[in-house]
Each structure stands twice: as structure tokens, then as C-alpha cells.
């Protein structure tokens, strides 16, 4: 047991040595060390589909924003915590990504487009995000109040930044893949978002109408996972033939089954 542990420790140390090289997740860090290695070209295939929600949409909890007039003023009725976003039977904020099936040892170029998280009306938009290691995360404050953005990862380094004014933006990157990086604001304890950090660019987040599209996939058979912060996950195996678009439709329900 001890031997295993020690060997495991060596592995961990070895693995981390490479990954934490750009250890400061601070802005300005090179967009992923992966750029140094030759990257695999993207394919022309895609996986598209919809995420449905079966059954009556659960009622989201209301948020008491009375203490923050600037934000409360942005709503005409009591603001809801968008835990489960259902519209016309479709579920938003679901991260859909390639869980397995990519050839081993391949590295992919970091997307040039940044992923954005916006603080608007004292809520995070979106409430669930996916991002690639090294890809830029742009954090925006659209509220004329103080927000702090605290990321609490375990494999990546954390950060906790204050954005005291509207219009302020901050950029961060993650250095290691991690399933769930919770993001929170401590000034407004109800603000939560979750970021999934992936080692490849094959992911999407379902829109309000439940639609998603994972692009650039090479031909192959993939295990696709759809993950929702509160409702759990669904798996599906999909084969992408050449440049064709494969379809994957998921369905969640309140029971999580």
C-alpha cells in the first residue's frame, strides 16, 4: 500500500511539475503550455443536439436582493436563482463534452475565442461554463457594485479578484483539466457558477432552447457526457463519420433518473 502511495506521489509530482509551470493563473500567462507541443488538426465533424427536460419545470428559489438596490432595480419581479433553466421543455446550462474516444496523446490548439462570464443583476451569466486548459476566461462586471469573483478549484490554483466598478474586466486561465471549479461571490452569497476545465476543445453548453453543437471533431466514436450542476449527468456513445454531423439528444428530469 505504502509503495503504491509513494509511487502515486511520484506520479502526481511528475504530472504537476509540467502543468504548474505557468503556475500563476494570472492574466498574461501564455495561453496554455500545450502551444509548445505540435497540435492535432481539428476535423470537420460535429455532434449537435438538444437537451430536453421531462416533466414540469421545478420552481427556482427566489433571491432576496433587497440589500443590493442596484441589482434589484434590474428586475421587474422577484429575481430567481437560475438553478434549473427550463424553457418550453428544453434545458439550458448543460455542459456537453467529449468524455472519451479521442486518440491518446493528442494535443489540440487552444481556441482563440475567449469564454466569458458576466456579472449582471447580481447573477452570473452563464451559470455553467466549459473552457479548455489555457483558454482565456474573461470576467466582466456589468453591475455598478462591488463583486468579488472567487474560484475554488482543487487541481488548479485558486483566485479571488475584486471588481468594484461596472465595466471592469479581468482575464484568467486554468492550467489543468478539472471537472468542476466552483465560482462564487462572497459579497452576494447567492451568486454561483461552475466551470468545467477540459484538456481539449470539444465541448459546448446548451443554450436556453436546449441546443448545443460540438464542432471540429475528427471522425470516430465518442462517449459524450451531458452534465448539469444540479441534475447530474447523462452518457451517450456517438459515431462521427467523416465531416458529417452526428446527433445526440439528451433528456433530464427532476428526479435525476
Amino acid at each position: 500500500m505504502k509503495r503504491l502511495l509513494i509511487c502515486g506521489l511520484f506520479f502526481a509530482v511528475a504530472a504537476c511539475g509540467g502543468k504548474t509551470e505557468g503556475g500563476d493563473a494570472a492574466a498574461g500567462a501564455p495561453a496554455g503550455d500545450a502551444s509548445a507541443a505540435p497540435t492535432t488538426a481539428l476535423g470537420g465533424g460535429s455532434v449537435t443536439g438538444h437537451v430536453k427536460f421531462d416533466g414540469a419545470a421545478p420552481t427556482n428559489p427566489t433571491i432576496d436582493m433587497a440589500g443590493e438596490a442596484v441589482c434589484q432595480g434590474k428586475y421587474t419581479s422577484a429575481p430567481l436563482d437560475p438553478v434549473i433553466m427550463v424553457a418550453n421543455g428544453m434545458l439550458g446550462n448543460v455542459v456537453v463534452y467529449v468524455k472519451s474516444g479521442l486518440p491518446a496523446g493528442q494535443t489540440y490548439a487552444v481556441p482563440n475565442d475567449a469564454v466569458e462570464i458576466d456579472q449582471q443583476g447580481c447573477l452570473y451569466h452563464p451559470r455553467a461554463l466549459a473552457i479548455m486548459v489555457g483558454q482565456k476566461l474573461i470576467i466582466k462586471n456589468n453591475d455598478a457594485v462591488l463583486h468579488n469573483i472567487k474560484a475554488v478549484p482543487t487541481k488548479n490554483r485558486p483566485f479571488n479578484i475584486s471588481q468594484p466598478t461596472a465595466g471592469m474586466t479581468t482575464t484568467r486561465t486554468f492550467t489543468t483539466a478539472e471537472d468542476d471549479v466552483p465560482v462564487e461571490c462572497n459579497v452576494h452569497g447567492w451568486m454561483h457558477s461552475n466551470i468545467m476545465v477540459l484538456p481539449h476543445p470539444f465541448f459546448a453548453v446548451s443554450a436556453a432552447d436546449g441546443s448545443f453543437s460540438i464542432k471540429g471533431l475528427p471522425a470516430g466514436t465518442y462517449e459524450i457526457e451531458a452534465r448539469h450542476t444540479k441534475l447530474g449527468s447523462k452518457l451517450m456513445t456517438v459515431t462521427v463519420a467523416g465531416d458529417a454531423a452526428a446527433t445526440a439528444d439528451f433528456a433530464f428530469s427532476a428526479s435525476g433518473a
Partner: protein, 529 residues
Amino acid sequence: MISCARGGDTRRVFGALGAAVALGALASSLGAQATRGKAVYDKWCAECHGNTGAGDGSAAEYMLPRPRDFTKGVYQIRTTASGELPTDADLLHVVTEGMPGSAMPDWKTRLNETERADVVAYIKGMSSFFSGAAPTAIAAGKAPAMSAEAVAQGRVAFEKLECFKCHGQQGRGDGASAPTLKDDDGHPIKAANLAEHWKFNGGATIEQIYTRLRTGLDGTPMPSFSDAMESKVVTDEQLWQLAQYVRSLSPEKDPEVREVVRAALAKGALPVGPSDSAWSQADRFWIPLVGQIVVKPRWFAPSIDGVWVQALHDGKQLSMRVSWDDPSRSPDAPWNEWLGRIRKTVTAIDSIPIDSAQGPDRLTIQFPTRITDDAERPYFLGGDARHPVYAWRWRSTPDELQEGRLTGLGKFKAAGAAEVAHVAVFDQGQWRLQLTRALVPRDTSTVPAFSLGTPIPIAFFAADGSNGEDDLRGAVGAWYAIYLDVPTPPRVYIAPAATMLLTAGLGVLVVARAQRRERNSRRATKEES
């Protein structure tokens, strides 16, 4: 970097040579310094921080904030940017100086410099994050000179950056978000009380406060303002001014604990209430309080860490003002969230559950039942059945003061006529309670009289209802004394003056005589030659 091939070699060696070599291998993988550090750690640190450094030692559950979990590699007190590792110097600093306001003591007296450096090397090995490049400190200049103008500008920054959201308008940790704050592990964490600099976790020099603003305190809700500075939302100069303002909220020096609270003779009438400006002229005495950990249920997470006591008398009445910082006027609905976390974190120690409803805030002041010069002091926790204490028991909701006897903490029995007048004011995270009583009570048979010139033993107990505190769970202090100044009779001024004149006169005489003798003897010598 050690690879797993080498791990394989190690495995073979394990099989062949057994445990002695295993230890040797451990030593070589740790390095000599960390191996020495392990010995120090196991002896001094493990009880709180745990054998593996996960912050789960046997004493950990009695602490709030909890001891650091070294396996996560997340540290509050750093000179590096948000989310970065601390430098070796940062870690050494915390080991050396401790963390004021927490259970972490300073180790500079118990461990020598080598031992401290060794233990730092060892705890770094507990997180794989330290295997990367060494972190670098942020560039911080030197603190500009403190000035009233800088402090005023600092207040502007305090408002602009909305520091009050957590720390409160007067910095007493009573901001609107304060009851919701939690650390990375979900434990309740207080917004620092900026009026108590001696409890600042990372130290209270202007440079240290500025550094906390730039770096944030990782693992806590306190963010870094470096990005705001780079985005020109706030300037470097403003952050320095803010640090100066924050420092100005506390007294200049650490409060000196004195055994005796002096009640001066009031120049005019006694103050009419706790907000009377006369109190600003009276000396303040700091009486530290600590968690009540003697009587069950014991309490290791007290909200109140001391009271400021001021006292005046007019020869007929004694008036005291007791002020203490408490972030909530209990019960207060927003603090239900805080209480919920307290109940979850400070798990039913001694198996007596904490009430889910907030109680009132409380202050109990005790005196011996008889006050004489050689007064034997009853047990400091409310006396006992044979030696009760005379007590004033105040509660915030409803605002009420009862007088009576305690025969042990929580064992109160109201008795006697109402002798004490009180006025309580809650203002921005602070209670100020004025208590006034005639020196000679109406009922002298059961209530002790206060005399001028005789120290009156006095002890305090304070509780914050929003923090799950009650008659036993709270903060207690030892016996102190209150001393009512005796008005100075005129002869006190005349006697020293007379003595001085007499001494001066005698001095002149002595010198004159000595000079005369000298002259005479010189003359005699001349005549001889």
C-alpha cells in the same frame, strides 16, 4: 524530477532491505531539511494540523478558524498575487510570528530559526503545487508618511471599493454580507474587525495591510485588489491610503491590560447615557475575554474578545460605560445563516446542542457580595453555592437588566431592589452600555456598598446570541478591580511644596557652610606656608 522508473527501483529495494531502507528512501525523497522538519512538525504542529497536514489534528475541531490544511497549498498570508503559492519567507514569517486572531501562536521563542526553516521545508512537501517554479512577491513600495489627509482619502477609497459590504461602515466586521461569509471549507468566517489591529492575521503595519489588499487572503472571502489597480479602478496611492485609513480605525498601540480600572472623580455631572460626550474624556481600560472552556457546554468560538471599560464617580454614584464589538444586534434575521453554519461547524461539543434560534446578546458583571480591602474573590465563573457573587445581568432583547446573585455560571437568581440604572445603545457593530449605581445601595443588607479608595473586584461575561451563545457559551474574563479615586484634599498639594522649600533651604545652608569651611581651611593652609 523523480520518475516512476525510479519508483520501481525503490520498490525492489523495499523488498530486499526492508523498513530501515524504506526510512532512508523517505528521507532522500524528502531531503535532509524536510526530514529534520518532520521531526519538528510531528512534535509541535501535528496536534492541530494533523499527521498528514490535512488540518485535521485532534485539537482542530475545537478551533475556528480551523488549522490550515497544508495538502491544499492555499495560504492566506502571502506577498504573492491572488492564488499563487506563498514564498518561503512568507511561510517562515507566519511560523515565526504566528497568526494573531487565530489559535496559531508565534514560534520564535520555542523553535530556533533552523527548526522553523526545516518545518517550512516539510510542510511544502505536503502539496504537489510546491514542485513548480518558486513564486515571486509582488512589487510593493514603501509606505508613504501617515497624514490626516491620507487617512481621509483612504476613507474615500473604503467607500468606493465598498469595503463596508463585509467590514461595516466603522470596520467592525458588521457589514451586510458578514453573516453569509464562509471559507473554502464552508466554515463560517468573520470579516476582520478593523478596529482591533492586534488581531489582524497578517500583521498590522501599513505595509502588511497594503499587502493584504494587493494579495487578498486566499481561502477566505477577502479578494485581491491588484486587478482593480491594473484596471485603473483604484490607484496604488489610493490602496496605500486605504491601508492607512484601515490602520487608523484601531488604537495606535496594542491595548495594555491593567489590573485596575480607575474611576476618576467626574469634573461635572455624571454622563447621562453611553453616547454622552463626557465619556470621550474618560480613560478606557481593555479587559480581554476568552471562550468559556471550563463549565459544560464549553465554548471555543467566542464572538467577543474583550470589553472596554470606563468609569467615573461623583462621590455618590458610580457610572460605568462598557463597550464591546459585536457584529450583530441579536436576534437579527440575516444572522440565521451564520448561526446555521456555526451549529454545523462547532459540532455539539459536550453533546449539548446549540439552539437553532438566536438568543439575545448578554453581558454579566460580577462583584463579590462583600467588598473589603482583603476581599477574598469568589470563583471567577459566577462563584459557587458557598461563595455566590453579586451580579448585574443584562440582555439585549428585551433590553433588561436584572440584579441578583449567581451561584455559578448560568445559575442566576434575581434578588433585591432595583439599584442599577442602565442605558444600552447598539451602534455599527458595537454595544455601549452605561450602568449607574449609588455607592451606598438602598439595601445594604444584601447588596455590597462601593467605597472610595478600596479596589472593587469586578469580572465580566459576554455573549453574542447570533453566534449561538447563551448563559454558558460565551466569553469570560478573570477578576479585575475598579478603583474609585479619592478626592484630593488641599494639604496634598501644600505638603510637597513645603517639603521642597525646606529641602532647598537646607541645601543652601549645607552648601554655604561647606564653602565657608573650604575657605577657612585654604586660609589656614596659606598661613602655614
